[in-house]
């Protein structure tokens, strides 16, 4: 059975088709591992064995009838930001502690239709606001490589789950790095698509002009197969892009001869720890060995991406989260006076400290007299940041650098100072502002044997190219196959 927990999605698909294992057996294998290992990790915050096994049996029936697809019968778990019909969907918040989603998010609908089996819902920073999973109402997720360290965030539950082999794959969302940073800190592969490629319908909104869902798994090949199912036009998301369907796995086997890798000067400055730098440099040497060339590029405004993001994202969040008023769904305070008092008390008690901080900042930067100075200014700088990328991609096919300036840090080391925490996304945020696709893949280990992530940034709609670059690297190296000790 240990080969099944480390198997790729393609291998699982082959095993299912050959009747070497059934979907029900596969689901039970992972549910048993969750029962055994999750208490030490706190990655899963909703489980429903009966529902999971019923879905697995339906997948077995589809496989027996010959109507299955390449993902039918393969289990996965969803970040708790995705509405999942009949499942508690909390977004990591007390506000939605008792919210049973009455419908499926588009992503969930598509993965269900492909026959994938839902193992449960995954812990996350509250409303996806955090980089360490310490803001979850349900307590932090532990990093399987070292339980005294954070798994990253906000998709920390997704990352820890895959690292510990509690599921072969998971969904994640990325507003400023929330797929890539936890993927880096937990040693796995995660991809944030170009803005608009995956529907946001049913994905609880944080910052609508930045939010994008994507796959998290052990390898680039797995991510490509998942993205093939997750992507696609959806009329229910007004920013979903109407484009012809793509096979994101089409270029995986093409060699990297002639690939031009742009290395932004700004990503290789003083901000990065020495162990991260060493692993990234070694990865770049491997790419040159594989036939790629590296070229220096500049992103002169990228240093402004974190401050611009912390105007734009809270502004959008303050608007999006105004829906949580204790009337139609979510938490309502037990005691209150008039209607305004009910709103103010329900929101004070239902939201955690970081969410409240961002709503307050967002409200302030949008308020009368400050809108031009903060919000409009940040939007102008956003255009400068996007233009930098446009120019850089004139001389390269992909951009590479570190995903995170450090390996996973210990709990409590950054949570006291919001700005310090915000800076852990210094290399990931600019791609969200520009709407570009980005991914992280494991490229070695740093201090204390903690994983290091290599970030690949693609040009707009350059997912297939990024995945090709990642897959060819993963064929030549074995970092992505490493598993934390104690998780057998």
């Amino acid at each position: 059975m240990s080969d099944l927990i480390n198997a790729s999605l393609r291998e699982l698909s082959t095993a299912l088709a050959a009747k070497k294992v059934s979907a029900a057996e596969l689901a039970a294998l992972f549910l048993d591992r969750i029962d055994r290992l999750n208490p030490g990790l706190n990655a899963f915050i909703a489980l429903d064995r009966d529902k999971t096994l019923a879905q697995a049996k339906a997948a077995d029936a589809a496989l027996a009838a010959g109507s299955g697809g390449p993902l039918t019968g393969i289990p996965l778990a969803h970040k708790d930001i995705f509405c999942t019909k009949g499942w508690r969907t909390s977004c990591g918040s007390r506000m939605l502690e008792n919210f049973i989603a009455p419908y499926d998010a588009c992503v969930v609908e598509k993965l269900n239709a492909a026959g994938m089996v839902t193992l449960g819902k995954l812990n996350m920073d509250e409303f996806a606001m955090g980089s360490s999973n310490e803001t979850s109402y349900f307590g932090p997720v532990k990093n399987p490589w070292d339980p005294t360290r954070v798994p990253g965030g906000s998709s920390g539950g997704s990352a820890a789950t895959i690292a510990a082999r509690l599921a072969p794959a998971a969904t994640g969302t990325d507003t400023g790095g929330s797929i890539r940073q936890p993927a880096a800190l937990c040693g796995l592969t995660g991809l944030k698509p170009t803005y608009g490629v995956v529907s946001r319908y049913g994905m609880i909104a944080f910052a609508s002009s930045l939010d994008q869902a994507g796959p998290m798994a052990k390898s680039a090949e797995d991510c490509a197969l998942l993205l093939n199912t997750m992507a696609g036009f959806d009329t229910r998301d007004s920013t979903s892009l109407e484009r012809a369907a793509e096979d994101y796995a089409r270029d995986l086997e093409k060699p990297l001869q002639g690939l031009r890798i742009g290395l932004p000067t700004e990503f290789f400055g003083d901000g990065m720890d020495a162990d991260v730098r060493a692993a990234v440099e070694t990865a770049l040497a491997e790419y040159r060995k594989l036939g790629a060339t590296t070229v220096e590029v500049t992103l002169p405004n990228s240093g402004l991406s974190v401050p611009a993001y912390y105007v734009i994202a809270p502004a959008e969040a303050s608007s999006n989260l105004s829906r949580f008023d204790g009337v139609r769904y979510g938490y309502r305070a037990p005691d209150y006076g008039d209607l305004n008092d009910m709103y103010s008390k329900s929101r004070a008690q239902g939201f955690g400290a970081e969410v409240k901080r961002r709503i307050l900042i967002g409200t302030y930067v949008l308020s009368h007299g400050y809108y031009d100075a903060y919000y409009l200014k940040a939007q102008k700088i956003r255009r400068l940041i996007a233009a930098d990328f446009q120019k850089a991609f004139e001389s390269c096919d992909v951009i590479m650098g570190p995903t995170s300036p450090s390996v996973a840090f210990a709990f409590g080391t950054k949570s006291a100072d919001p700005v310090q925490m915000y800076l852990s996304d210094i290399y990931t945020i600019s791609t969200n502002l520009a709407g570009l696709p980005g991914m992280s893949l494991p490229c070695g280990f740093g201090a204390n044997h903690m994983p290091v992530g290599l970030q690949i940034i693609g040009s707009w709609f350059g997912e297939a190219k990024m995945l090709q670059a990642a897959h060819q690297y993963q064929k030549a190296t074995d970092w992505h196959t490493q598993m934390p000790g104690g998780m057998q």
Partner: protein
């Protein structure tokens, strides 16, 4: 610029988030820390730059004016804190 306690109270009121007196003071310090950090944006010359509201330039799509949703009031009200006869209940707003 730096927020006063009165500023924090006003922002909290606009946000409909109740803050105790003690929370107001710690919130004021944290918000000032964040505002100090984003202050660096002011030094950038953005003359003539169009604001970028969105990652991709898309135009709002229109759809035919047809009923596409079925009535799922009971499903949606099942998750509401308090309802009666198909209505959401809130404290009295009109005397």
């Amino acid at each position: 610029m730096s927020l006063t306690t009165e500023d924090v109270s006003r922002i909290a009121l606009l946000s409909r988030i109740e803050l105790s007196a003690a929370e107001r003071e710690s919130t004021r310090e944290q918000l000032n820390g964040i505002l100090g950090f984003i202050e660096q944006l002011q030094a950038v010359d953005t003359a003539g730059i169009e604001p970028m509201a969105h990652a991709v330039d898309v135009v709002q799509r229109l759809r035919p004016d047809l009923v596409t949703e079925t009535d799922r009031r009971a499903d949606f009200q099942a998750v509401a804190p308090e309802t009666e006869a198909g209505l959401y209940l809130v404290p009295r707003v009109v005397e």
